[in-house]
């Protein structure tokens, strides 16, 4: 595994990002924009599903916001993978990063269980708690 991370860091793309003046902050911004879109869709979706805020029919809200959440996830994960590649060994050894990936895995399993339909109340509550926790643990990597 250690060798795989070292090999990832040695790729031309990772080397470019590590030294780049503009590409790295751009990818960083893409990661943040993805998170904003993801959490920005997840929060109102689940609040409406749980009936904690008034608004249109919950099924319509979920159906409308889900594509935005998925797009945000794809953008965040894509840019996140690039950021990871620049310092793969360090991130893999970081406690906050590991926690974030574990929380992300649980959040993805939870999301996959009700893809295409309405989430259960439990699923919605879990989603509402998990995604912000993924964001929080991810942000903590920079402070560890």
């Amino acid at each position: 595994m250690t060798e795989a991370f070292a090999a990832l860091e040695a790729t031309a793309l990772a080397q470019h990002l590590k030294a780049a003046r503009w590409t790295y902050p751009l990818v960083n911004a893409g990661h943040v924009a993805g998170l904003a879109l993801l959490v920005g869709a997840i929060v109102p979706m689940n609040l409406r599903r749980l009936g904690w805020v008034p608004g249109p029919d919950p099924a319509a809200v979920v159906g409308f916001l889900r594509p935005f959440a998925v797009a945000g996830l794809v953008l965040a994960a894509g840019c996140g993978a690039l950021l990871f590649a620049t310092q793969a060994s360090d991130y893999a050894a970081n406690g906050w990063f590991r926690l974030k990936i574990a929380l992300l895995a649980v959040a993805l399993v939870n999301a996959a269980r009700h893809l295409g339909g309405m989430p259960s109340r439990r699923g919605a509550a879990l989603s509402l708690a998990l995604w912000p926790l993924v964001l929080l643990s991810g942000r903590m990597i920079g402070y560890s």
């Binding site: 990002l17 590590k18 030294a19 780049a20 003046r21 790295y24 960083n28 805020v53 008034p54 608004g55 620049t86 310092q87 920079g142 402070y143």
Partner: protein
């Protein structure tokens, strides 16, 4: 203002105020006074988001934060100059926590030559 907008705005405002104002980037986490450290580089991690040197000075192991590649390059510093074994003096601000042996460098001095990472900062 509609009731929901008002509730959400107040909720987010309260959350923002409650969050501690910890900052890693920028200078808010550093002490005000200037600080200088002279020692030997034992490890160097250069690259985005910023370079980190491990410097042994006075039997203490310090972490010295330097610039991103473009900032180091602009100052005239090359990766070879920051390799382990190099004797350097780092001038800047240390971590506000006196227990933390962390210095964010504004200038690096090698062999009497000063390399200014932040020409706009004194």
């Amino acid at each position: 203002m509609p009731a929901l907008t008002r509730r959400l705005t107040l909720g987010c405002l309260a959350a923002a105020l409650a969050l501690p104002a910890a900052a890693h980037h920028g200078w808010r986490w550093t002490a005000d006074g200037n600080f200088e450290l002279t020692g030997t580089i034992t490890a160097a991690e250069l690259g985005n988001p910023h370079g980190v040197l491990t410097v042994e000075a006075n039997d203490e192991i310090w972490t010295v934060e330097i610039g991103q590649p473009w900032r180091n390059e602009r100052a005239g510093l090359t990766d070879a100059m920051l390799a382990p074994g190099a004797e350097i003096t780092a001038q800047g601000h240390r971590h506000a926590d006196p227990e933390a042996l962390v210095l964010k460098a504004e200038r690096i001095v090698i062999g009497g030559q000063t390399y200014d990472l932040y020409p706009d900062r004194s």
